[in-house]
């Protein structure tokens, strides 16, 4: 039917040509080879300023020409069933993305794109074979992005004039659809950024710098003096280096966090969750609510100390889950929990602790290796190294207890929650319908301790989430609570059904 013809064959917005020409996007390949040649000429003195200008002009023209060619040969259309993208200069390719396979639509507007009021549209689709596929429209006018996103996500045929198209700059409330805001970034949250786990490597880096620094100090009073008592200038320099390194890292983390997360807003629009963010590059990520199967609350050790957390949605068939599924960048734990409860699912049931045998296993693992090595070193006559490892073994007690206290799980008929980890603590909440299977592992040691490890297999996120070292009874209870029916086979007597008779 003609009214299903949402968009006839369309081209990308012409303004993208300017952006690409300026950024040499198409001509970069040529430039990389032209650069050294120009350099050789310049060094040999055969290239005057005129020549340099000529090369620059040529490169720009070539860049523009390539962009224009690509733009000319690129078209897309959307009908009731699919998005069709045709492209290619000589060998043409045609990609059809069925609309019912579209899992998410991202709108990304880098600074230059924003200047020209255009944006890049990324369509994430679950391919029929189980692999992931993506179609990229670089770029469409900002005014079109809102409507395109709506059409792609709702699979509704919206007539070209039916939907009043507001000025849809990503970042402004552009849709005429009912909107409910779940979270807005409080700029103070950016202060959490320097505490993120990866920055724990900083002490190591500082140690390395210090070592170099000490070595490069002048040795006027002889090597022994330096090693025993560094002179005061040396101490001052070391302290200054430490402070400077810390400051640089902290400010760097802060700036990086601000650039990517500035203006973060999470809202529900129609049947989608939409997350917007970005200081220079504006990104808008849409997730189909029907496809969300749970969430992960994760806390590195640094941000756990200040009671902050990160929130990520578990979405079936979504590629690059960690980046696109993010529901809240670093924020206070209670806010993250509230967002999870209101945007995904409220699940406050207290977790069941795991048996004491699990604590024993955590302690053996965190204390055992350093303690053994320490004893071995002592026997080898290396008391200093042995004492360092002994300290590690003592710290291991705290780590083991913390890891044990993290362990927990609970389930009702609709969902289950699992928590584990000390250095990276994660609380995963999974809807029961996401479950595609169970895996139960029991080592010889676990068998003796009456424990087992349960893996809930899901078609989202990492594919499987562990319930570490719960008691055998707890494990079977959890399986029975979450998957009544099909998992009964684990504890019931054998049934003699068709499948079994076949093997007779």
């Amino acid at each position: 039917m003609s009214e299903h013809q949402v968009l006839a064959e369309r081209r990308l917005d012409w303004r993208v040509l300017v952006v690409h020409a300026v950024t040499f996007r198409q001509a970069r390949a040529i430039l990389s080879s032209a650069g050294p040649i120009a350099l050789v000429f310049a060094v040999q003195g055969r290239l005057g300023s005129f020549g340099l200008i000529a090369i620059a002009v040529l490169a720009t023209v070539a860049s523009l020409a390539f962009s224009a060619l690509r733009w000319w040969r690129f078209s897309y259309e959307i009908d009731a069933q699919r998005l069709l993208v045709r492209q290619g200069l000589l060998s043409r390719s045609e990609r059809a993305v069925p609309l019912d396979r579209v899992r998410g639509v991202d709108v990304e507007a880098p600074a230059l794109h924003r200047l020209f009021r255009i944006a890049v549209l990324r369509v994430d689709a679950a391919a029929g074979t189980g692999g992931k596929d993506e179609a990229v429209l670089d770029a469409v006018s900002a005014a079109d992005t809102g409507r395109l996103r709506e059409v792609l996500l709702t699979q509704r045929a919206v007539g070209p004039v039916a939907a009043p198209v507001a000025a849809a700059v990503p970042g402004s409330a552009d849709m005429a659809v009912a909107e409910r805001v779940f979270a807005r970034l409080d700029p103070r949250w950016l202060l959490y950024a320097p505490l993120v786990g990866s920055y724990l490597a900083v002490p190591l880096a500082i140690g390395g710098t210090l070592l170099r620094d000490v070595q490069s100090l002048p040795i006027p009073a002889g090597l022994r003096d330096l090693l025993d008592v560094p002179d005061e200038a040396g101490v001052g320099r070391i302290a200054l280096t430490v402070l400077a390194a810390l400051a640089v890292v902290a400010v760097g983390a802060l700036v990086a966090g601000a650039v990517s997360n500035w203006g973060f807003v999470l809202a529900a629009r129609g049947s989608n969750l939409v997350a917007e963010r970005g200081l220079l590059t504006k990104r808008t990520v849409s997730l189909e609510i029907d496809r969300i199967r749970g969430y992960v609350l994760s806390q590195g050790i640094g941000i756990r100390l200040v009671r902050a957390a990160r929130l990520t949605a578990l979405v079936t068939g979504l590629g690059d889950q960690n980046r696109r599924g993010q529901l809240l960048p670093l924020g206070p734990l209670h806010v993250a929990e509230e967002v999870a409860a209101s945007a995904v699912r409220r699940f406050d049931t207290p977790l069941l602790p795991h048996p004491a045998a699990a604590l024993r296993r955590r302690l053996v693992r965190s204390v055992g290796p350093p303690a053994l090595v320490s004893v071995a070193l002592l026997l080898l006559g290396l008391p200093l190294a042995a004492s360092i490892l002994a300290v590690l073994a003592v710290l291991g007690v705290g780590l083991g207890i913390d890891r044990y206290r993290a362990l927990g799980h609970v389930a009702d008929t609709a969902a289950l929650a699992v928590r584990s980890g000390a250095l990276l603590r994660r609380r995963v909440v999974l809807e029961q319908r996401a479950l595609v299977g169970w895996r139960i592992q029991q080592s010889w040691f676990q068998r003796r301790a009456g424990l087992l490890t349960l893996v809930a297999c899901v078609g989202a996120g990492e594919g499987g989430y562990e319930v570490l070292d719960c008691s055998t009874g707890q494990g079977l209870d959890l399986v029975a609570a979450v998957s009544p029916g099909w998992a009964n086979a684990l504890s019931s007597r054998p049934q003699f059904s068709r499948g079994n008779q076949l093997s007779k």
Binding site: G130, R293, T316, G317, R433, A434, L435, V436, G437, W438, R439, I440, Q441, Q442, S443, W444, R447, L452, V455, C457, V458, G459, A460, G463, G464, T472, G473, G475, L476, D477, A480, S483, G485, W486, A487, N488, A489, L490, S491, S492, R493, P494, Q495, S497, R498, G499, N500, L502, S503
Partner: protein
């Protein structure tokens, strides 16, 4: 409810007894290579090599022989004893492993594809493996070394039942 002494149950069926033959042949092949390498090491070790190297080289054939005994006479039967599988009305269910045991259970409603694999060695012994895949990379089950006729009946049956009650929620 609690089951203090409960463990997950063992699935009802074992793999084809022919699997013992296949595993024995595989063990024999690797034993031959190891024995050859061990004998070569013992014969060719230079007399002026350090004592540690000479002792190790001299021991190599005996270590290889011990491996051969395990791989040919013990391991195949042990493996046969620790591979179990079952298809119930609602799920596919396997148990493998000796020191570490692994149970896997998948509801038939969530099965996406069912594959039959027949390797060259498997064909020699009239065996086939059935692989059951779901939307999760971790939610897969492989029932190894079934009788080819059993695999040929189980796999299509599973695929048909999965198609009939497929649940797209995942």
């Amino acid at each position: 409810m609690t089951h203090p002494a409960a463990v997950p149950r063992t699935p009802a069926y074992q793999v084809s007894p022919n699997a013992i033959g296949l595993w024995t042949l595989e063990g024999a092949i690797s034993s031959v290579f190891l024995l050859a390498a061990g004998i070569v090491a013992a014969v060719l070790v230079p007399a002026e090599a350090p004592i540690v190297v000479r002792v190790l080289a001299a021991a190599a054939p005996y270590v290889a022989a011990a491996y051969a005994v395990v791989a040919v006479a013990i391991r195949p039967r042990l493996r046969f004893r620790v591979h179990h599988w079952e298809v119930t009305d609602e799920s596919v269910f396997t148990l493998t492993g000796w020191l570490t045991q692994n149970w896997t259970i998948i509801p038939i409603a969530r099965i996406q594809t069912v594959d039959i694999n027949r390797g060259a060695m498997q064909r020699l012994f009239g065996l086939a493996s059935v692989a059951v895949l779901t939307a999760s990379s971790k939610g897969t089950v492989e029932i190894v070394h079934l009788d080819a006729a059993v695999a040929g009946a189980v796999a299509p049956d599973l695929a048909r039942r999965a198609a009939a009650i497929r649940d797209e929620a995942t």
